[in-house]
């Protein structure tokens, strides 16, 4: 393993070193080269100089790392002069070329030919533990003035959590120069954390605890807690630490609560998209589609197939027949757009599957709800087994496009892009469905059929066609839900099973055929599911509580949140 690391680093360094030939900061390289061959005292002063000198490049940073790892070798040339070098390739036993540390150029003999060094008997520069520590510290200090604020923050936090008083002056110096507010906050936190460990000055400890509480520093929780329980600390310090712990804990509770709500809303959005389709088919046609969950899986598998086609193709072997889907071998941003193609495709494929299901099975079962439930369950079994035969019984991995992978943080609440995307898209879908139902001729027909099928037929509404299209639309929505699910969770043959019961619950609680009801109940169930999971500390208990709550809720409102008003007894 170390050899491999060695190689990687060297390979990484090689082009950088070559590039550095013309770089103006050769003085730092020279200093490093000088330091390698100097005495311990000189090394200290040279390293200090390096810290002070502004604008260290990545190359030099890496050089220091190599030095600390013992990857700088010493070469004695014909004139007896010792030259520090870095090997181009160090994982082979073969001879390899080398670069000079001071200039970054290839090591050449007097004729101008590259000198080949045998890694096995090259003399490594002497690096002891003290020197390594010293170099590491220099590197730490350097990253405190790194151009990337995230690196600066990370280092400030690291220095703070070490709770060593020696780091305090460094933080203070940096604080004077720092402009980024995020980093500034972390620097303050780090200072307070170090002062918290200052047992010689209890009053400083108290002040530090107070300021940590004010800064809502979650990272200091452990330190504060151990301080409040430590035996050596004074009573005042303990009190301050306990207070600060409580303050931060309540802040943490708020952060977690909002994080949970966010997760709940994103889960609810998926539930919403899937339940919306179910609500429409159930409300419109009076049929229960138990294969709706498999439509979700169809969408998710479509996304999986699209991803693989964009990449390297996908070999499938259903029933021993080998089919290879050709791949487009895309990389970089063209590959990252696969999800944009997968979304409409998963809608289309699921809608087509729904259309076939409607024509083959459901159209014989209108108004025979219980029978439709049973027949579609049979279909769902068939589909599950087909998934198993085609894609294998194991879960498949769908890689999210990179633009959905990141997250951003608002006062310690982490918001993942994928979840935000799902929420935004769910809103678009709900709006789209609402527009379809209220502003288009098809929507008019659909509503007419929901209200009174026979009368609508008498008025010339082509009820058969409306059924077909609506069922396809509902299944398509399930397919969309599947595409989103593939970005958040696993895709497997029984994916639909885990969502079908939730989707049904959503429809029943919301009130059959009501979009508003479905929205309210989907978000309600999604959020309460997540909140209860958090409160009870177990996903299963949360789920059971939600199911119980639903049964009790239906005692109170048997028709759901927004029941369809009707004068008939059998609605």
């Amino acid at each position: 393993m170390p050899r491999l690391k060695f190689f990687c680093l060297a390979a990484m360094l090689a082009p950088l070193l070559l590039h550095a030939e013309t770089s103006p900061d050769s003085s730092i390289r020279e200093s490093i080269a000088r330091a390698v061959t100097s005495s311990a005292a000189d090394q200290d002063s040279i390293l200090d100089q390096i810290v002070v000198s502004s604008g260290i490049s990545k190359t030099e940073h890496d050089l220091l790392t190599s030095w600390s790892n013992g990857e700088i070798y010493l070469y004695t040339d014909a004139g007896g002069q010792v030259i520090p070098i870095i090997l181009e390739q160090s994982d082979t036993t073969d001879k390899t070329r080398a670069f000079r540390v001071d200039t970054g150029q290839l090591l050449k003999d007097s004729n101008g030919a590259a000198i080949m060094i045998d890694p096995t008997d090259a003399t490594s520069s002497d690096v002891n533990a003290i020197l390594r520590k010293k170099i590491q510290r220099t590197l730490d200090l350097l990253s405190l003035s790194d151009s990337n604020p995230e690196v600066r923050r990370g280092m400030a936090f690291k220095l703070g959590s070490s709770q060593k008083a020696e780091n305090l002056p460094l933080l203070e110096t940096r604080l004077k120069l720092e402009t980024d507010p995020g980093v500034k906050k972390t620097l303050y936190e780090a200072e307070a954390l170090i002062q918290l460990a200052d047992t010689a000055h209890p009053e400083r400890q108290v002040a530090a605890a107070d300021s940590l509480a004010k800064l809502n520093c979650i990272g200091a929780l452990d330190a504060l807690r151990s301080l409040s329980e430590s035996k050596s600390a004074s009573a005042e310090t303990k009190l301050a630490a306990t207070k600060a712990t409580q303050a931060i804990q309540s802040y943490l509770a708020v952060v977690n609560f909002f994080g949970t709500i966010f997760h709940g809303v994103s889960l609810g959005s998926i539930l919403l998209v899937s339940a919306l389709g179910l609500a429409i088919t159930f409300g419109l046609m009076g049929v229960i589609n138990m294969a709706h969950g498999e439509m979700i899986a169809v969408g998710a598998y479509t996304t999986y197939v699209v991803e693989n086609v964009f990449r390297d193709g996908l070999p499938l072997s259903p029933l021993g027949i080998r089919i290879v889907l050709p791949g487009m071998h895309l990389t970089g941003w063209p590959f990252q757009t696969y999800f944009l193609f997968a979304i409409p495709l998963s809608f289309l494929v699921a809608a087509l599957a729904g259309l076939a299901l409607e024509r083959l099975v459901i159209r014989f079962l209108y108004r025979r709800v219980l029978e439709s439930l049973l027949a579609t369950w049979g279909v769902s079994l068939i589909m599950q087994q087909l998934f198993r035969l085609v894609f294998g019984a194991n879960n498949v991995q769908v890689n999210s496009p990179s633009w959905l992978l990141g997250n951003f943080t608002i006062s310690d609440v982490v918001l993942g892009y994928n979840r935000i995307f799902v929420i935004v898209f769910a809103v678009l879908i709900v709006v789209g469905t609402w527009l379809l139902l209220t502003k288009t001729p098809l929507g008019l027909f659909i509503r007419a059929v929901i209200q009174d099928r026979d009368m609508a037929a008498c008025m010339g509404v082509p009820t058969q066609r409306v059924n077909m299209l609506t069922f396809a639309f509902g299944s398509g929505l399930a397919g969309l839900a599947g595409a989103f699910l593939s970005q958040i969770g696993n895709v497997g043959p029984s994916l639909g099973q885990s969502y079908i019961i939730d989707s049904f619950m959503t429809v029943v609680v919301g009130g059959v055929g009501s979009i508003a009801g479905t929205v309210v109940s989907a978000l309600g169930i999604g959020c309460s599911d997540q909140v209860l999971q958090q409160v009870l500390g177990s996903p299963v208990l949360g789920k059971i509580m939600v199911l119980t709550a639903i049964i009790l809720f239906l005692q109170w409102k048997p028709g759901g949140f927004f029941p369809t008003r009707s004068r008939t007894l059998d609605s």
Binding site: I288, L319, V361, R363, F364, L365, Y366, R367, R368, V369, L370, E371, L373, L374, A375, T376, W377, G378, V379, S380, L381, I382, Q384, Q385, L386, R388, L389, R453, D454, A457, T463, Q464, I501, F504, M505, V508, S538, V540, L541, K543, I544, L547, T548, I550, I551, L552, L554, Q555, W556, P558, L569, D570
Partner: protein
Amino acid sequence: MQNSFRKAELWGIGIGAILILGILPALNAFVPETSVFHLSDFTINLYGKYLSYAVLAMSVDLLWGYTGLLSLGQCLFFALGGYAFGMHLMLLIGKLGQYHSDLPDFMVFLGYPALPLHWVPFRSFWFSVAAVVLVPGLVALVFGFLAFRSRIRGVYFSILTQALTYGACLMFFRNDFTFGGNNGLTDFKFILGYDIRSAATQRCLFIATGILLILTYVFCRWLTMTKFGKIQRAVRDSENRVLFSGYAAANFKLFVFVVSAIIASLAGALYVPQVGIINPSEMAPDKSLEAVVWVAVGGRGTLIGPIVGAIVVNALKSWATRAFPDLWLIILGAMFAIVVLFMPKGLVGLPKQLYSLFQRSSTFLKGISAQRGNEAQLPVKETSTSPGDVIRTGRAD
């Protein structure tokens, strides 16, 4: 529907009883193994399993076929009965478990200091039997009361029962629920002092299941014959009319729900010692749906239908899972869809269906020949609807 047992039916019950209680066990016990007529221990065990499934199917039919309540959670009660009896069997293992402790193995494994309080009374056989009847009965009573009180009916009832069994299934999967979590209860050694794995014990369990099946049949037959049974079917066909006639339909439904839960639970209690294991997957939503398949395939609204369905489907399953392991689910699913679509009365109703189809086509042919003779006369199309029809004929537009 006649109000007393018909002669043929009594003969049928008698023959069935002799077959199950006499001939099959005798073929297993007394016919030498070399003979063609010998039933192996494995087979008798398998048949015993089918019989307990048949009882479960009858409980589904009592609800669905006779009262119009499609419960998708019937296996919850089946499993609860199984667990209640399994707990007793678990405690009978004593120190013979893997860890040689008084506690059941899984408790030692999960680090229980002592037997949980609610396990203690299950040392008694009669308490366990009482629990087999009372626990599922109570669960059904509470759930049914809540559901029927708020007039949850039709498909909502189905969905809610499914949610109930799903919730319970998740609960039982938890290790800290004290029922063995994922693995459930297994490795039973004794029952009533006898070795549970011996052929003789298994034979006795088979006979016991047979007796349960016959008793259930007679009970259901009697129940559906009484005035109660008439109201039951009236609720199925038109609940509102029953309500308007002054009957509290909810109470009737609740009673049937509880009774069928107890029947299912008894079946589960006899199933467990024969199979040797009970785990939460027995109450997964799929299992209940499968039980509904048996009833649909056999023919609902009849009492012989569920028995036929349970045995035929399970025999098919035993064969198909070995012959076509990859395709079994597809066969099951397709069978179910086809039965629901084209055979609303199941296997039992198939002869009648074929007969009426034959009749209809002959009337149709007659109509055509008459049409040839007399152009003005149109063929008369007959639709067969009888008041006792289980399905409400839908308007397929």
